[in-house]
């Protein structure tokens, strides 16, 4: 209980601090929403020059885009602030968090949390809702469950990617943008049908790293379409499992990183 109330206070302090500069907060909130809008807009723009992308029309592809948008926005708002880790490691500020009698990760996430990202979650959910309403889906109880399950598991998966890639800075302080390739890159990858990618790139990123299970296979299950790449239909339901594995890996990487951490000493 003591821990929970400590986290609650961290969160409240953060909320008060960010809302105290009203104009800045307002601009941030608005701009933040545009960020996700641009991503979704890109997909629509591409469909203006082609009726078909990787064997999917716009309505079908938007289901994939919507699941990814909602999942990523949730992960980004919840745990995305962990990317600030590289700054804390470089400046040695992480020491302050490690000295307190609370686990470092939740502290880091709460003290760096940015409330403006909450507007993206709302926007992501709206995109998903519109996409699902416009898509030709035969509703069953299982599919209704999947429409909640898929973005949730996707959010957990992206959250694990955020933590795992941020942890790289424990070993490589100057790693800078490397994490972006997997977090924002993973989002950009997963908003399009996997059939768009080819060769070793598809094998490594979509299947090896598991990004195909975030939105592509759940969307196939929702749309009742067989996979053009020949994978079995049950792949649409494995995203919670993949997310659980990702969380396990991220936790291991994080722990190894914390143990490896040596303060800058300055």
């Amino acid at each position: 209980m003591g821990e929970l109330s400590a986290y609650g206070q961290l969160l409240r302090a953060q909320a008060r601090a960010q809302a105290s500069y009203r104009a800045s907060f307002g601009i941030d909130l608005f701009v933040s929403m545009l960020a996700l809008g641009f991503d979704v807009l890109s997909v629509i723009v591409l469909y203006q020059v082609t009726p078909d992308l990787g064997g999917f029309n716009l309505r079908e592809a938007m289901v994939i885009t919507g699941i990814t948008a909602a999942a990523f926005a949730t992960a980004d708002a919840g745990i995305g602030s962990v990317e600030r880790l590289r700054v804390l490691v470089r400046t040695g500020q992480l020491d302050a968090l490690l000295l307190r009698p609370l686990p470092a990760l939740p502290q880091l996430v709460l003290t760096e949390l940015s409330l403006r990202k909450l507007s993206r979650v709302l926007f992501g959910v709206v995109v998903l809702a519109v996409a699902v309403a416009a898509a030709p889906i035969q509703w069953t109880p299982a599919r209704a469950a999947l429409i909640v399950l898929a973005p949730t598991a996707g959010a957990v998966f992206f959250g694990a990617v955020f933590v795992a890639t941020a942890s790289v800075s424990f070993w490589w302080v100057e790693s800078g943008e490397v994490g972006n390739a997997f977090t924002y890159g993973g989002r950009d990858l997963a908003i399009y049908p996997v059939t768009a990618y080819q060769g070793w790139f598809r094998r490594i990123f979509c299947y090896g790293l598991g990004f195909a299970t975030v939105a592509y296979y759940p969307a196939l299950a929702l749309l009742d379409r067989p996979d053009p790449l020949g994978a079995p239909a049950w792949l649409g339901w494995v995203s919670p499992l993949v997310a659980a594995v990702a969380v396990g890996v991220a936790a291991l990487v994080w722990r190894a990183g914390i143990r490896h951490y040596r303060s800058t000493g300055s």
Partner: protein, 284 residues
């Protein structure tokens, strides 16, 4: 030129007509400064390459879906488009420059203003040095990867090469001027984060990084080209190098970039002078 010191002595300083020697040595300093961060360059390189692969496959899928040509671009042209934009991203440095606004907020800007050189010229020189390093480190590698993995369009006309070089140089200057202006917001707002994020979003999308601007409706493309500097910062150079248009149009594109570059630099000068007149330096 000579300066009078407090004790009344006149000190002669090395003659530097027009500040050329200073400008050149600042360019060199900028190059060296960014060359020190080679690890960051390596990390950025990796990220650019992953995004390049991703965008390239998606655009090739678009061309395949559209039947071999999308908005007048062939597959190989879009491959070149993807890798040149990924390479140019670091050269023009669309994102991540807050040096000026940081110094305004902290008050360090005073040091810059006390120097006997215009801050715009100083920062421009350093930025040119930075761009030169980025050209060697972050432009060459993605292009090579793209050429190895995909079939790339190679310019057919001899005149395209010099036009491309001039176009990239103008894009660097123009992008610098725009970044300088966005940073100048800090003179008035102090917290320039909102405008900086807005700039990042608008520039990424409207400069032609996500998709070629011609994918948009014609009227919108015209509005963007004529009314905003964004297409001149990246799409212009790419359209030149993939020979999307005849030579005359290529020259016109580069000329239009020059107009924007001069206009935005002039605007920087104006804004800087206004800011200096009203500024209250942050103490502390």
């Amino acid at each position: 030129m000579s300066y009078l010191t407090a004790s009344g002595e006149s000190v002669r300083i090395r003659v530097d007509p027009g500040g050329t020697a200073l400008f050149v040595s600042l360019i060199r300093a900028g190059f060296r400064r960014y060359a020190t961060y080679w690890q960051a360059a390596l990390a950025g390189l990796f990220t650019n390459t992953v995004f390049g692969l991703l965008r390239c496959y998606v655009l090739l899928a678009v061309v395949a879906g559209a039947g071999g040509s999308a908005a007048g671009y062939s597959g190989p042209q879009l491959v070149t488009y993807t890798w040149v934009t990924q390479g140019l991203l670091a050269v023009v440095m669309l994102w991540g420059w807050t040096d000026l606004s940081d110094r305004i907020r902290s008050g360090d800007i005073v040091t810059d203003l006390l120097r006997p050189a215009s801050p715009i010229r100083t920062y421009l020189a350093i930025d040119l040095g930075r761009a030169a390093f980025a050209l060697l480190s972050r432009f060459v590698v993605p292009i090579t990867v793209g050429a190895l993995v995909f079939t790339m369009f190679v310019p057919q006309r001899g005149s395209t090469w010099p036009l491309f070089v001039v176009s990239v140089a103008l894009a660097v200057v123009l992008c610098f001027a725009c970044r300088y202006l966005v940073n100048c917001v800090a003179y008035w707002l102090l917290d320039s984060r909102g405008p900086v994020i807005a700039w990042q979003l608008a520039s990424g999308m409207l400069a032609g990084l996500g998709f070629p601007l011609r994918f948009l409706p014609d009227w919108l493309v015209a509005v963007l080209w004529i009314g905003t500097p964004f297409p001149s910062m990246m799409q212009a150079s790419v359209d030149v190098v993939i020979e999307r248009d005849p030579v005359g149009t290529q020259v016109a594109i580069v000329g239009w970039q020059a107009v924007w570059a001069v206009a935005m630099l002039a605007l920087c000068g104006l804004v800087q002078r206004r800011a200096e007149r009203r500024m209250v330096v942050q103490g502390g």
